[in-house]
């Protein structure tokens, strides 16, 4: 298919009433219903939805690349006028890569582990135009440069596992751009990446798409990212398109209750839970095959009425604007107050603000110059030549304290050492130096040396809810066992207490007998949290508790955690890479980079200058779900360097946008304190930082 130019102004992609279903064990379940969309040439369309919304299905359906379980039941996908659904496999191969390409989600598994990167990119070229090998090599290197990869020659010779996730994603972007396609499909390309890496990849994508004039369809669940990249949005819920419009329309005048709820459930950076509660949409997304008849959102909708038992039609409410809701006119005319949809907002009366009560008499947990170093294994040759092993200083000289009754947030990207630190506190890793004190007494390093008294008071919830619960045990049993063991209850008592805990986390009693695989991600995480509260710990460490959850569920879990903490007055060490969530939950924030603390500040002061340069970069990288906000974006060059090469000076100097030069490179900074007692690990004097930094959030 040659690249013929259609008449300007006609959409490059026109999806008409696409309906897709999946075959699951002899039953056919509808995944996407009557989906329609038009992308203009050069347009950047966002497809926003949570899990189960059908967004990835649509992206694959556009390519006509659904697996054998996927059935296209109806509709057309017109690309430059031709229906892709009617093409044969070999005709599609002419389109794939050269006219439409996909940038997939998980960079690690999307590259062939046993082929060199250069070869994988070169494949796209060979056999097409009879290019010479030298020519191809040139094109590969040019592509790698185009996506800002350092030392392209070296990278081309490497294998995927030798480079970081951010670099792998750039390689995939390079592959997708290699033949200059007219349409770029982006399937959550930054979901698996750190915030700063995400920001620079988004920057790259914007540059590319705008520069080449190609169109893009960006599939994501992250409204902030969508707000940054797209000019139009389509919001999906459980297989239905519920709202469609320009970026500003959707964010400033949402017409569908789901959109309103979704936007409101995202924590705004700088807004803490003590100021206003997060909105959470009650209920959960219906699984495939259990979708209600009529309006799919009705069971969770605060304004559902009788007519909602009928499927609402997709109504055009204006130019390039449509919504699927029976009551859209009422919403548009302001007859229904959006702000009251999901909250108990009572006009202008603010919610009671509770100030954090710190038990300042004694800190609950004290970390004093804690270091966790790992020795890297040497190859056989190195052992023979007597080379001493490299040390990986995962945690390096960390000192901070957790007061009783407070929440301390630990923010860092991947490789920062935050999980290692959590494990060290729990006794799962040995400290190489420093000490940890719990309630004033030294904490035994090894888990096996700790008595029940300590075990009861110190608990942890790990990151991945899918792996946190034993798949062979019933959910209730998983919660019951720690109650029995740590509180020394008998079986029946423990069972009753377990059910009480489950209900406190909004898991109905019937879930006791269910197995983990029968629960959704959010439910599993709530079960894991319930289990950790079994012994009523005084300190609970939560490691990325909401990162893998959908936005609407995230809000619900955070609210539950908040309630529990207010009731039981325990402390939380909240570990996350998401500063907005940390800003919401924590009273004190510690920022960690490459094993060292960079800043420790009270939350209310973290979001205003002075910022540590790294904090500044992190804050500016947060994707804000508000297109009206424009901020200076601070880009950090490169990816997080390998923690093995230990710099002599400040750990951040190689990427710091405010680096002073030799001082930062060779001398370690000291701690600077500001008026409120917050501390910063930087050479730059605080007054200078304060005056030169812009306020990033109101």
């Amino acid at each position: 298919m040659e690249k013929n130019r259609e008449s300007p102004g006609s959409p490059i992609l026109r999806i008409k009433e696409l309906t897709v279903a999946y075959k699951l064990r002899d039953k056919v379940h509808n995944a996407v219903r009557d989906f329609s969309l038009e992308i203009e040439p050069g347009g950047k369309y966002g497809l926003v939805g949570e899990s189960g919304s059908g967004k990835t299905t649509i992206a694959l359906a556009i390519l006509n690349y659904l697996g054998k379980d996927g059935l296209i039941q109806g509709g057309e996908v017109l690309f430059k006028g031709k229906d892709l659904l009617g093409l044969t496999k070999s005709q599609l191969k002419e389109v794939w890569g050269s006219q439409i390409s996909l940038v997939p989600q998980n960079p690690q598994s999307s590259l062939n582990p046993s082929m060199r990167i250069g070869d994988q990119i070169a494949e796209v070229f060979s056999g097409r135009n009879g290019d010479f090998a030298g020519d191809i090599l040139f094109r590969v290197l040019t592509l790698l440069e185009r996506v800002h990869l350092p030392e392209p020659g070296k990278i081309a010779r490497m294998y995927p596992h030798q480079i970081s996730g951010g670099m792998q994603q750039r390689v995939l972007i390079a592959m997708a751009l290699s033949l200059n396609p007219d349409l770029l499909l982006l399937d959550e390309p930054t979901t698996a990446l750190d915030v700063t890496t995400e920001a620079s990849i988004l920057g790259l994508l914007q540059e590319e798409v705008t520069g080449s004039g190609s169109s893009a369809l960006y599939v994501t669940h992250n409204l902030g990212v969508a707000a940054q990249f797209c000019d139009r949005l389509a919001v999906l819920y459980a297989g239905d398109l519920v709202e469609d419009g320009s970026l500003l329309d959707i964010f400033q005048r949402p017409l569908h209750p789901y959109t309103t709820g979704l936007i409101a459930s995202i924590p705004s950076p700088g807004v803490s839970r003590r100021e206003s509660k997060l909105i959470s949409i009650p209920g959960q997304i219906p699984p495939l095959g259990a979708r209600p008849a009529g309006c799919v959102f009705a069971p969770r909708c605060p304004i559902a009425v009788n007519i909602c038992l009928q499927t609402p039609p997709l109504t055009e409410t204006g130019a390039n604007r449509s919504v699927r809701c029976h009551r859209w006119e009422e919403i548009e005319q302001g007859l229904l107050d959006r702000r009251r949809f999901f909250s108990t907002y009572n006009g202008d009366k603010p919610e009671k603000i509770s100030k954090p009560v710190f038990d300042n008499a004694r800190n609950l947990l004290d970390l004093k110059k804690v270091g966790v170093h790992f020795e890297l294994p040497r190859s056989v040759i190195e052992v023979f030549t007597g080379k001493s092993p490299d040390t990986l200083k995962a945690v390096n000289g960390v000192t901070f304290s957790i007061p009783g009754g407070s929440t301390v947030g630990l923010v860092g990207e991947s490789g920062s050492g935050k999980t290692t630190l959590a494990r060290a506190i729990m006794g799962l890793e040995l400290l190489t130096n420093g000490r940890v004190e719990f309630a004033g007494k030294a904490l035994p390093q090894k888990l096996s040396e700790r008595d029940f008294g300590i075990l009861k008071k110190l608990q942890i919830v790990f990151q991945n809810p899918d792996e946190a619960l034993n798949p062979h045990l019933k959910v209730g049993t998983s919660i019951q066992i720690p109650i029995q063991r740590l509180l020394l209850c008998d079986r029946d008592d423990a069972e009753k207490k377990a059910i009480q805990l489950m209900e406190a986390f909004q898991l109905p009693a019937e879930y006791f007998n269910k197995k983990p695989h029968q629960l959704s991600g959010g439910e599993k995480q709530r079960a894991a949290l319930a289990r950790s509260f079994a012994s009523n710990p005084s300190l609970l460490i939560v490691d990325e508790p909401v990162s893998s959850l959908d936005v609407s569920v995230q809000a619900a879990v955070l609210n539950m955690l908040d309630e529990f903490q207010q009731k039981e007055a325990n402390s939380l060490l909240f570990i996350s890479h998401n500063l907005a969530v940390i800003g919401y939950m924590a009273d004190i924030v510690a920022v960690i980079y490459r094993g060292c603390l960079m800043e420790v500040s009270r939350t209310e002061e973290l979001f205003s200058p002075p910022y540590h340069p790294y904090t500044e970069a992190l804050l500016s990288a947060i994707p804000i779900p508000d297109p009206a906000v424009t901020r200076a974006r601070i880009h950090l060059e490169g990816d997080i360097p390998s923690p093995v090469d230990e710099p002599r000076g400040c750990p951040f100097h190689s990427r710091c946008p405010r680096v002073l030069g030799d001082t930062c490179k060779s001398e370690q900074p000291g701690w600077q304190f500001d008026r409120q007692g917050n501390r910063f690990y930087c050479h730059i004097p605080l007054e200078e930082l304060e005056s030169s930094q812009d306020l990033l959030f109101d």
């Binding site: 598994s109 046993s114 082929m115």
Partner: protein, 304 residues
């Protein structure tokens, strides 16, 4: 690897020492008198402490003196090496046929998962797995020798026959051994292919517009074959000295039959020699498999 081999020789030696029966008596027969037995034992060094015997044996092996076979009274080395050569020829031919065939069938079955081709291949390999070699061997003889008159039933080749001269006589036993291997190598390859095809990188490659052929050869194959290689490596050891039944059916002078012969006559030095050769073959083929594995899987090469 050297440590493994040394340790195995120790085990081989130790086990043969525990075999029941007095060697001297076995050689001299029942009527031999005590004095004669004593004399023989002294001559054979059977009264020396075990570690000494072990070192003497090992030393002899390494220097090329493999001793004399009790039962034939001839030097062991030429005997074993000759048979070893025959077994190698048979193993080589078997591998030449079996490996490409089973990998090809496995890939074909995996690519067309759950379609007709796959069903045919899977069912046939499954049904062959259960058939013992003497059945398949005899069936092959029936078909190719008696009905078609193409190939000989008797594969006894005189020592020193070259590979090409022996070829017609090697074909049927090789086919029989192939059928045994085919069954599970095919299934293993098929499973590997099916597994890899599900992986995201295959999707990335297809959506680049790659042809099916390129996709399979360059991407899928090298990642699917890893378990297959391990199994083939283990099979090599079996092909060298484990083909006892096949060698019997076809009267082929291989190492397997020699081993049976030695066991029958309690010819311990001969048994030890054959066991040792087998061990070495296993060790080297595993080493080769490891190298091949590292070549195909770069993550092992660089240490993750």
């Amino acid at each position: 690897m050297l440590v493994t081999i040394l340790f195995t020789t120790l085990i081989v030696f130790a086990i043969t020492q525990y075999l029941p029966g007095d060697i001297a008596r076995v050689i001299l027969g029942r009527e031999a008198g005590e004095a004669q037995l004593e004399a023989l034992r002294a001559k054979l060094g059977l009264d020396d402490p075990l570690p000494v015997q072990y070192l003497r044996w090992l030393g002899g092996f390494l220097s090329g003196d493999w001793g004399i076979s009790f039962s034939t009274n001839t030097p062991i080395m030429p005997l074993v090496l000759g048979r070893f050569r025959n077994s190698m020829m048979l193993a080589a031919l078997t591998l030449l046929i079996a490996v490409p065939l089973s990998i090809g069938l496995g890939v074909a079955a995996g690519l067309k998962e759950n379609k007709t081709t796959d069903h045919i291949i899977s069912i046939s390999s499954l049904s062959v797995v259960g058939l013992p070699e003497f059945v398949t061997g005899l069936v092959l003889i029936q078909v190719f020798t008696f009905r078609l008159g193409l190939l000989p039933a008797n594969s006894s080749i005189p020592p020193g026959t070259s590979f090409f001269e022996a070829l017609p006589m090697l074909i049927l036993p090789a086919l029989t051994a192939t059928l045994v291997l085919l069954a599970y190598v095919t299934r293993l390859t098929r499973a590997g292919v099916v597994e890899e095809l599900k992986k995201p990188y295959v999707r990335t490659a297809e959506l680049k517009g790659l042809s099916r052929r390129n996709l399979v050869l360059k991407h899928v194959l090298r990642n699917s074959l890893l378990p297959t290689i391990t199994v083939v490596a283990i099979s090599i050891g079996w092909l060298i000295s484990g083909l006892i039944v096949i060698e019997n059916v076809f009267n082929y002078p291989g190492l397997g039959r020699l081993l049976m012969f030695a066991i029958d006559r309690r010819d311990i030095p001969l048994m030890q020699a054959i066991a040792l050769i087998t061990v070495l073959v296993f060790a080297f083929s595993n080493l080769f498999a490891d190298i091949l594995y590292a070549y195909l899987n770069p993550r092992i090469r660089f240490g993750e």
